[in-house]
Point group: C2
DNA sequence: CGTTTCGTTGATAGTACTCAAGTGGTGTGG
DNA sequence: CCACACCACTTGAGTACTATCAACGAAACG
């Protein structure tokens, strides 16, 4: 049974055949009747009220992130959200400048927390599915803490490339192509690195043949296996970011 | 309305009066009839099966953590769990050596995920409360990523002390006393620091009058305000770790 | 009392940050 | 069409922080 919490826009990396499969039609859902569709352009911030008047967002397409602005330090990108993810205020730590920001043109559903809970209470299957989804998001947040806490710059960057390749990559003749929706600053803020340091890392990756960059974020990963070998968490990323078809 | 998901064992830090309030009696719950009580001694690992035969743990007392053992690196303590927290396999990234470990003598409830979901489906209030609890745990995981990603060693250690003070501290005549249940290695692994570096940090803190250590993890924080001033996330920690009475 | 373990401290090296200069592309106005 | 300003990215040199390794001291244990 297809559900609203599953990825709608992810294009699976499939090493056997060319991806770019047509998007699957979605079934009608009780949620879409009560939710307000919202389109967010790049860099637009979505309001995160404080409890108890909470708002729940469900990502339909695009890419969003939690950002914070620590006093006197650089912006942080704490977490990335993909289609199907569920976001509410209380999931976000009350850091200075904390906000939910669209990193690309995105579509989300917005609905009050009490409506969301009422809808879940009415459907045990969707309730269980929402729980699993939130648990998966938790695992991703924990993994990110692990990556930022122990890996060096090269390994962190390789980890992000693997994640984006699994989420957004397409099979091309010369490797896997990814239209990276993050700016260089975004990537540095997400990996807790300095933009200068990130530039050195990308230069090393290009020199090692792990990466080819074109304009506008168009990126080619010529050697997927070598890239996966550059990060100790490639297998873990696979379980959290690969679509079910590619996991099997 | 009191619930099973609220802290049962936390002793709030209250700057107005002495803490050590008597523990509140808990109401009967449908969960305790279906859950298996489990006692875990220090360093004991709790089994984390893979989906779909998932197990859900609910912390009753004590302190637990998620640990991982990256190849060729030191152990990582990725997350701490306090009474009331909900833990299931899919919340934990599939890292090498990932396990749920008791850091102190702990009591948990164990039940199959499908039973847990069935019980939540029967009670909309508990369902909503479980969702809020999981969201709060998500916020803590994200905050930890922020701490480990951007703060230096001193700030990380101060952040942990504030967290433990809020969770486990008691008001004493000379300041706030905390029986820190973590070994030095645990703390270093949690803060993504080297044990040697952590030792230097504690020495600095003792020299600055922020910390007094006795044997067996008995710790005194003489200057709470000064400690909070040592970390940029003191206010955020307050919202996530302070009991409701102390937050107001 | 000796052994083991843990914690501390010093010296050194590796990594990333900061600051600064240089490069390339883009857009605007002459 | 060119000149210029502007911005993002790159690269180099110096600095700050932490990890690593080794030695020392203290406490726990037999």
């Amino acid at each position: 049974m297809m559900s609203i919490f599953q990825n709608a826009a992810a294009q699976p990396v499939n090493h056997e055949q060319t991806a770019l499969a047509p998007k699957i039609a979605e079934p009608a859902s009780a949620l879409c009747e009560h939710a307000t569709p919202v389109r967010a352009r790049r860099r637009q911030r979505l309001v995160l009220e404080h409890p108890p008047s909470e708002t729940v967002y469900i990502v339909r397409s695009g890419l969003l992130g939690i950002e914070a602005l620590p006093a006197g330090k650089h912006r942080q990108l704490l977490e990335l959200f993909y289609p199907g993810d569920i976001i509410r205020r209380s999931q976000v730590p009350n850091l200075p400048g904390a906000s939910l920001t669209a990193l690309t043109l995105s579509e989300v559903w917005r609905l009050p927390a009490h409506s969301f809970e009422a809808l879940l209470a009415a459907s045990p299957e969707q309730n269980a599915q929402a729980q699993r989804r939130v648990a998966e998001q938790h695992a991703r947040a924990t993994l990110h803490a692990s990556i930022v806490g122990t890996l060096n710059g090269d390994e962190r960057f390789a980890s992000l490339l693997v994640e984006l390749g699994l989420r957004l990559g397409n099979i091309g003749p010369a490797g896997i192509t990814v239209d990276v929706p993050l700016s260089r600053t975004d990537i540095a803020d997400y990996l807790a690195l300095n933009p200068d340091t990130l530039s050195r890392i990308t230069s090393r990756f290009k020199a090692r043949g792990l990466l080819t960059q074109f304009g506008g974020g168009h990126t080619l990963i010529p050697a997927w296996e070598a890239l996966c070998a550059s990060t100790p968490v490639a297998a873990t990323l696979q379980t959290l970011h690969a679509p079910p078809a590619a996991t099997a």
